[in-house]
């Protein structure tokens, strides 16, 4: 690894010089333009006599403006970068690690491991106490850099996945990205504050001063635009490079792909108010309106590159989100015992199916279609792969189950796994439940019945999730407005596309609703979370109709 302390220090001094130069340039041009306009405005009469509209500042005046701008830029730089790490930590609400708490101890160990892989670069650790999934790095010119992880991410990733995420952040630190982004945020944070102030002030002032105000506002807007453009054009490349360095450090591209996949499938928090601070995170917190301004490249692209490095395909990721059930584990173990024998069977690419306590096959797709006994929940395994999973999770096999729908004695089939939904009694209503993915389909009437009754006690995890949903209410509403139709499932009743939305103003839980027949699809646990939230509402009776 070619990142020694000397190089990192050199990189630091170079980035300081570049940033100061940019700042001076911005101050100089702004001051020069203002000076030019003011001069032209006040000397308007002289101009008319001379028959010209503009008077350019002379060389001496330009030099004076430059000196003043440089002084202002330096003051600005030192004022904003002093103690910027503390301020960033405050904005992000990061807390130190509690080493008596095992997950935090593990995080600290992992950070030290990655630091060892880089030849002993010192890095600190901190956590943010939120359920969202994300990680970031911050650094300044004086103290050691820090890597922060949210509690949500800490609970979702295993050791090697967390190691890959830390590797990615450490790569940002070693490449100097962290320092540049933190500094840029601190410096331009001042402009952002000024912009907001002027915008508010504009409503109160009138006359010539307002004109100057508008002018300054427009110039700031321009600076803001270039800042955003600059940050986004640099950081898109940075993410790919940091991914590559992380793989080089941990030699584990699959774990990084898995963690990116897990983060992308979960709530990854609202974007921070300071522009550009979002580029500190491993996955951009808020979905940006204009893709050109995203600080991060599309996550699918990053995952695909990593999967290519690992010689794996997407199916390796999908199994990640499903808890391995005991039966899958048993099947998995029995496969491992026979692994050597089956390795010799270098057949065509096919599927093995787990039946009567052993793996049968391999079968071609056509053969599977003719089997007759293959069900949506049969365990299958791709030839050459080790992971076993239920057949409904393999998107290529789903067409096989569709014709079976008519055979099933249920009204509907699951929009996710095409398995027939079971009619069950639930809180006084008859609802349809998928026995595989544990999702529920309810009409509005059934929902009211369910919500009114309070027969059920909820597990701790459901109550915790309900609390998280309430705490993140604002952010969730903000995010749902920006969502670009991620998972569009078809209504099991009328086959129209269902809309991804938050259940209600009171219960900010993501559900799918059919705009035509009004049925609502709840994924696993979502219905219970909504119920738990409603049960606590003081004015529940008025709301549920």
């Amino acid at each position: 690894m070619a990142y020694s302390f000397v190089q990192i220090e050199k990189e630091k001094s170079r980035s300081i010089v570049v940033l100061i130069a940019i700042l001076i340039a911005i101050y100089f041009f702004t001051a020069w333009i203002i000076y030019f306009i003011v001069k032209s405005y006040f000397l308007a009469k002289v101009n008319e006599q001379l028959g010209r509209f503009f008077i350019f500042p002379s060389l001496t005046e330009t030099v004076v403006v430059f000196a003043a701008a440089s002084a202002a830029a330096l003051v600005h730089f030192y004022a904003t970068t002093a103690g910027m790490m503390l301020r960033a930590i405050q904005v992000l609400d990061a807390k130190p690690l509690d080493l008596n708490y095992p997950p935090h101890k593990m995080l600290k160990n992992i950070i030290e491991e990655v630091s060892t892989a880089m030849g002993g670069l010192p890095i600190g650790g901190c956590v943010v106490n939120t359920a969202s999934c994300n990680a970031f790095s911050i650094g300044d010119f004086k103290s050691i850099p820090y890597i922060g992880v949210t509690e949500g991410l800490l609970s979702k990733l295993n050791r090697s996945q967390l190691e890959a995420v830390i590797g990615h952040e450490a790569a940002h630190i070693a490449r100097g990205d962290t320092l540049i982004v933190t500094t840029t945020c601190s410096i331009f944070g001042l402009y952002e504050g000024m912009m907001v102030g002027i915008k508010e002030g504009l409503f109160r002032i009138r006359g010539g001063v307002a004109l100057v105000g508008v002018l300054i506002y427009l110039i700031l807007q321009l600076v803001h635009f270039f800042n955003k453009l600059l940050v986004s054009s640099i950081s898109q490349q940075k993410e790919f490079r940091a991914d590559a360095v992380a793989v080089r450090l941990t030699r584990d591209p699959l774990s990084l792909a898995q963690s990116l996949y897990i983060i992308s499938k979960r709530w990854h928090g609202e974007s921070t108010k300071i522009v550009g601070l979002s580029s500190l995170f491993i996955v951009e917190p808020a979905v940006s309106g204009l893709s050109g301004f995203s600080t991060h490249p599309p996550i699918e692209e990053r995952i695909n590159i990593l999967l290519n490095m690992a010689h794996a395909d997407k199916s390796a990721l999908e199994t990640m989100l499903v808890d391995v059930k005991p039966q899958i584990k048993a099947a998995h173990d029995s496969f491992l015992n026979k692994a050597k024998k089956e390795k010799l069977l270098k057949n065509h690419q096919g599927w093995f199916v787990f039946k009567e306590n052993q793996w049968q096959g391999p079968f071609l797709f056509v053969e599977l279609a003719g089997l007759g006994w293959l069900k949506a929940d049969s365990l299958i395994r791709r030839d050459g792969a080790i992971e076993a999973k239920p057949a409904y999770q393999d998107s290529r096999l789903i067409p096989l189950f569709k014709p079976h729908q008519q055979d099933l004695h249920s009204r509907y089939s699951c929009p996710h796994c095409y398995h027939g939904l079971e009619e069950i009694g639930y809180e006084g209503a008859v609802v349809d439940k998928c026995s595989l993915c544990k999702g529920f389909l309810l009409t509005r009437d059934e929902l009211n019945k369910v919500l009114i009754r309070e027969d059920r006690d909820f597990s701790k995890s459901i109550i915790a999730q309900a609390e998280i949903a309430l705490a993140e209410k604002k952010e969730r509403f903000k995010q749902i407005r920006q969502i670009k139709t991620p998972l569009v499932i078809n209504c099991p009743n009328c086959s129209r596309k269902m809309m991804r939305k938050l259940y209600s103003f009171y219960a900010p839980v993501e559900v799918d609703e059919c705009g035509f027949c009004g049925r609502v699809w709840f994924d696993q646990d979502e219905l219970e979370i909504v119920q738990a939230i409603y049960d606590r509402l003081p004015n529940k009776d008025q709301i549920v109709r």
């Binding site: 690894m1 070619a2 020694s4 095992p102 101890k105 593990m106 160990n109 992992i110 030290e112 491991e113 990655v114 060892t116 892989a117 880089m118 030849g119 002993g120 050791r159 190691e163 450090l249 030699r251």
Partner: protein, 185 residues
């Protein structure tokens, strides 16, 4: 004649400067390799310090597994005494395999598996094994950079005349050794 001499002098000075540059480059990388080796040593020491704790925790439960415990202690003693790269490799590999058999034994004792101290130690040992692997990876990367540098022309001539030899890689005899001794707790 005089100009020819001047050109010759300039060339000689340039040659000396090039030699100095290459020499310093090699020295810097050599020190970096030594530093990387010291890093492995730090991590190995950490492992050696953890083992007595592990043995102490496990001793009370593993009355009938004296042999396994003794093997670990023996391997540790050998590892702490080894100095040459080759000896160290062998001793550490032995220690790794004895640790793995210890953890395999631990799996069969539910009481021990639930022991809080053991859980903490397990995390520490997992982390230490990773650190050793990463330190070794860093050392090997540095050694590779060093060896590539001194084998390149014209560096090889200078390295040869100053007696700079290749550095040894820290290899592991069996790729499965890279895996952390795993215990499911």
């Amino acid at each position: 004649m005089l100009t020819g001499l001047a050109i010759l002098l300039v060339l000689a000075v340039m040659a000396v400067l090039v030699v100095i540059g290459i020499y310093n480059g090699i020295i810097a990388l050599r020190n970096s390799v030594d530093n990387a080796w010291a890093q492995i040593d730090v991590q190995l020491k950490r492992r050696h310090d953890l083992i007595p704790n592990l043995v102490n925790v496990a001793k009370g439960y593993l009355v009938h597994e004296k042999e396994t415990l003794e093997n670990v202690i023996k391997a540790r003693t050998q590892a702490t005494q080894a100095t040459a790269v080759k000896d160290k490799q062998a001793a550490e590999n032995m220690l790794t395999s004895s640790l793995r058999s210890l953890f395999a034994v631990v799996e069969q004792y539910p009481d021990l598996k639930a022991n809080q101290n053991l859980l903490k130690l397990h995390e520490e040992i997992t982390s230490t094994e990773n650190r050793i692997a990463f330190a070794r990876q860093f050392y090997n990367d540095e050694v590779m950079r060093h060896n590539t540098l001194i084998q390149k022309f014209p560096n090889n001539v200078i390295a040869g005349s100053f007696n700079f030899g290749n550095k040894e890689l820290f290899e592991i005899d069996d790729p499965s050794h890279k895996e952390v001794p795993e215990v499911k707790l």
